[in-house]
Amino acid sequence: MRLEIKDVARMLDLPEATIARWIKQGKIPAKLERGRYIFEDRQLKAWARTHNITLREDKLHEQSNNEDDITLHDAMERGGVFFDVKGDNPEEVLKSAVALMDLPPSVDREVLLEKLLQREELSSTGIGEGVAIPHPRHPLESFPLKATVTTCFLEKEVDFNSVDGRLVFVIFVMLSRSTKIHLKLLSRLSFCLRNREFVHMLRSRPQPEQLLCKVKELEGQL
């Protein structure tokens, strides 16, 4: 694999100017090809090994600032909206939800369910107004997708032991890679739920497009 200055700069967490200077000084091996400096993968790794310097390959593939681009609307779109989700109690509801969710093959549904239940046991995710926000106790670091929020309207109202004591009619299952993203989405969701119109709309079991549209509108106000 061939890398350019900007890639190596990211992997070493240094500005491109420093890498360019190192090339000129001969401190890092690179070849000049058609006006650009190219690093050969194997050579670079060997160099890093001998100098005991860490190459952050994860930073290479990470798009910068992708965390800032995440919106609630996109997360909900990715997670999907489901209706008449069955279950008489939180455990059953979560089980049905997990079964319905569109997950990549690498995610073990049983493990996910367990994590959701663990969190639920710790403290109820019913935040009031008939809404619950189940999520795994610790963020799924290996979650391959961008964060998702799966909306499940329940077949019948279930007691989640919510803060305000009311029964829950809709759950938003929140899956993300990091606490930061989770908090961001949570904050936006809370913002939406403070809006009377939005809660009213939820109770009416709206079509997915309507729901997402409303979310987008509300997010735009932020």
């Binding site: 070493l12 967490d13 240094l14 500005p15 100017a17 420093t18 200077r21 190192w22 090339i23 000129k24 000084q25 001969g26 401190k27 890092i28 091996p29 000049l32 001998t50 100098h51 005991n52 310097i53 932020l222």
Partner: protein, 564 residues
Amino acid sequence: MKIFIHNLNERLQLVIIGAVVGVGGGVASVALNRALEWGAELLHPYRHHWFSFLLPACGAALSSIFLFNLAKDIGGHGVPEVIYSVIRRGGLLRFRSSYSRLVSCCLTIASGGSAGPESPVVISGASVASNIASFFRLRDRQRIVLVGGGAAAAIASIFNAPVAGIAFSLEAIMGEWTPTNLITIGVASAVGTEVSRLLQGNQIPFEGQPFTISNLDLVACLGLAMFTSMASVLLIRLLRCVREISSKTVSLHWVRAASGGLVVGLIGLMLPSIMGEGYGAIRTVIGGSFSEGLAIAGLIALGKIVATCLTIGTGGMGGLFAPCLVIGSFTGLFYQRFLIYLLPGVHWAGEPYFALVGMAGVISSVLQAPMTGIFLITEITGGYQVLVSVLLVSVISVTLSHIFEPFSVYHHELVAHGELLRPRTDRRVLSELSITELLDSDYQEVPPEMPLREFVELVKRSPYHFFPVIDSKTKRYLGLIHFDDVRAYLFDANLYDSLLVEELMDTTVPTISLDDELTEVLDVFEYGHDSTLPVVHDGRFLGLISKATILDHYRKELIVEEEI
């Protein structure tokens, strides 16, 4: 061919080009040597005339005119230039340095000036190496090693002493002994020696007879070390003195050189051994055929010191090696006569022994390079008998002269400018980093007229800790807001509409300019209590600089400088 070279493994690349460099250095030294011999022959018939004392003056003047007016080069040994370039400029040297000083030196020495051919050949060899490296578009690190090779080849080929060449290059020029350097420099040195042998024959400059050394002689060496260190300090100080005074009193460079040469010529009338390189005089001493007494020996030693300072200090072109050898041998000789005078009954080793050891002492001290001195003497005499004595005197002499003159004659100027930055030292690493590379972007700019209410919203949404205040029209930097400073007000909603950003900002935060030296920047951090400062250049805000980032970069720079 360029492409072929580029595709080779780096080590192999350096070895091959190192060999080429060796040839270059060797050729340069042989050329100069031949020129000097030819010059000596040319001028020989004139030496017996009455005006012969004017010869050094003429030669010095011509050398100066050639150097300054024709070649448009500058004077000086050249070795400090090479060192500066190696430390600061990746080993880049001007092409004209590869020939200008050779010609100039020839004029100076052939006419009788008291100097040696070494420094000019060193800079020639180094310059050739540097330009070859640039031709092949090599990187700084490789160019530096090749320049070291050029210097090594120069010394090696002049004295037919490959190890001394390597030692000189590593001790004086590169400043460090690392395995990678050693290979290339070793190759260059060896090839240089071979070229010289091929073209001039495999002669050892000063072949002597075997000696018998007793323990008493070794003890005597201690005293000799004192004398050699005194002679070295005298040489260094007088040289500096002559330089300063002559450049202040006489402004026209060739007149200056000529006047120096004139005095040399006059001294030479009485003490002919002080003129020129002086190898002839050394051979007399080593050969054991020097018959004069204590006073003459001392006089010659002093005379040589004065003559050398007058020649080189007034702008004559040449190096210090050869004069040091002469001074050293006569100091040794003087010491031996002195010992005989003091303790006539004892049987001391002969003159050649003391002369050799004296040479080692002076050269090591003047260059502050004991390894070079030790290897040089050992190699140019072809014998290891004197090794212990040479070691003893070199090391002690260096230590003693270090007290008075801590830096070698080459390094002194660099140290005065703060330019002697040895690899992997703190100052060196800092000098590699630039403020531009250290800029942080943990900030968002805000206009001064923004009310607190808006600012709070901004803070809520952004991940930054610093908010530089920039005037919207002139784009000038006005002050800095650090999140911590405004914590108190952020939750006081009463103030939201009555406070403007420009009332919150700190205008007393010291600012850093792109032109500042990192050492200064670190001082500012040291004496203040901020760990992040704004970088403002020409009134424009460019970014932040933080201690944490400096540490991170510093460490990575140090790691990368390590030679494996």
